[in-house]
């Protein structure tokens, strides 16, 4: 399998504070990779570093084998990396369709081709079509998450980064959203999911990485990794999960 994204000794800092230490992660084509770990482990920081929201050296991040670390976020999106950010980050004051149109505008401006259309998206999340004219701030949390996913898909990504998309959602809604992931992969899109919920992360991924304190402490095939291994990697040595 060819690598879509890989990081090599990725280091990131906020001012004087180092948040990531030598992180090596790779994502192959068509693969779903999960990133788990406690709060503050560096998962979101990792995504931000890839997306050019933190200063990193070019050779630390490779896309299709080419060094691209530190490329501005909008250029990363143009190269086919889209994100469903933590907290959804929708454009408040704008309607559902306008939120989605922003992404369509940009891909058409740049002439990026891809399989995602508004119609197809509405098939995936029918509720969004119903709410097309509604301002996003009056949607429920789950519907907002769908808009956020939709906005990322309309960027026609080859690699989709999902940052805690289950956060604060009801289990039923989480299931609904996670069932969309295989459909997205069917388009040939590789996925990185950042999750706190280990069960969800395991079931939605082929491989997983566990992070602790800015370092990768465990990696392997999702179905092979045991709960005890995760517990140890999740909280640091010696702790068992419940």
């Amino acid at each position: 399998m060819t690598e879509v994204l890989s990081t090599h000794g990725l280091v990131a800092r906020y001012g004087d504070f180092q948040a990531l230490y030598d992180v090596d992660v790779e994502v192959h084509e068509g693969e779903a990779v999960a990133l788990i770990g406690a709060n503050g482990a560096g998962k979101s920081t990792f995504l931000r570093a890839i997306l050019g929201l933190l200063p990193v050296k070019p050779e630390m991040v490779h896309l299709d084998g080419k060094p691209i670390g530190g490329t501005p976020t909008d250029r990363m999106v143009q190269k086919g990396v889209a994100i469903v950010p933590e907290g959804r980050r929708l454009f408040t004051g704008m309607s559902v369709s306008d939120n989605l149109r922003v992404a369509i505008d940009q891909t058409s401006r740049l002439g990026r081709k891809g399989g995602w259309t508004l119609k197809r998206l509405y098939q995936l999340f029918p509720i969004l079509e119903e709410k097309a004219k509604t301002p996003v701030q009056s949607l429920s949390g789950g519907q907002q998450q769908m808009v956020s996913i939709g906005r990322a898909l309309l960027c026609q990504p080859r690699l989709l980064l999902c940052d805690e998309i289950s956060l604060g959602l009801a289990p039923r809604v989480i299931r609904e959203i996670y069932t969309a992931l295989p459909e997205i992969r069917a388009h040939g899109t590789s996925i990185v999911v950042v999750e706190q919920d280990v069960g969800l992360a395991k079931s939605a991924s082929d491989r997983l990485y566990c992070m602790l304190e800015g370092r990768v402490t465990l990696t392997g095939r999702s179905e092979e990794i045991t709960r005890e291994q995760i517990g140890e990697a999740y909280f640091g040595g010696g702790h068992a999960v419940v």
Partner: protein, 249 residues
Amino acid sequence: MHGQQDNIPRESLLQARNVSKSFGAFRVLYDVGFDVYRGEILGILGPNGAGKTTLFNMISGDIKPSGGEIRLGDVQLKGEPPHRRCQMGIGRTYQIPQPYSGMTTFENLLVASAFGGGRSEAESYDYCAQVLRDCELIEKANMLAGSLTLLDRKRLELARALASSPKLLLLDEIAGGLTDEESKDLVKLIAQIRDRGVTIVWIEHVLNALMAVADRLLVLNFGEKIAEGEPKTVIADPEVMRVYMGIEA
């Protein structure tokens, strides 16, 4: 367990009644009520986004509840600004450390001691040096807080909250990322703080640390209280297991 005996009448230090919070259409906390008893350590568990930090923000006065009331002893906290609440004895740490980055570690503590704790400057010097020793920060007393590592920033959060001499100490995820050894020491320190008469509410993901020292646990999910009580009982609750790590019991 250093838990309170059930036959001793428990005096409630903090009472939350029907506390709710919404941001626009987004409901973060719904009708949450609980007591914190004098001298106990209450642990709060819950997945991200359950509303734990929002609860702290409302107790410390950083945000206003949309409904319900919070009392400290006999005092209704409504309308009291954060600095007054600190002076009344509520000390807190922030989940994301918030140091005064242009000041030294020592000076960070002095602010809390002089304004929150109401000490004179001379008294503060001795007191803060002591707190720095307790929290293993004395070697870094004269370093700028902005250049501390994450671990030391977390220590600083705790030390600074202690410097304001709280009656009620709110700890927001201070154990995340500690090694096993370190987290054991932290548990010991927190127990000592409690034994000195400080009541503690501790939000934590590191379950073992919490289990080792909490007298009671409270579990939040989706802004609602789903369990409260004796730690062993709470943690055995199938609903709690499912919510906490997505593990079906």
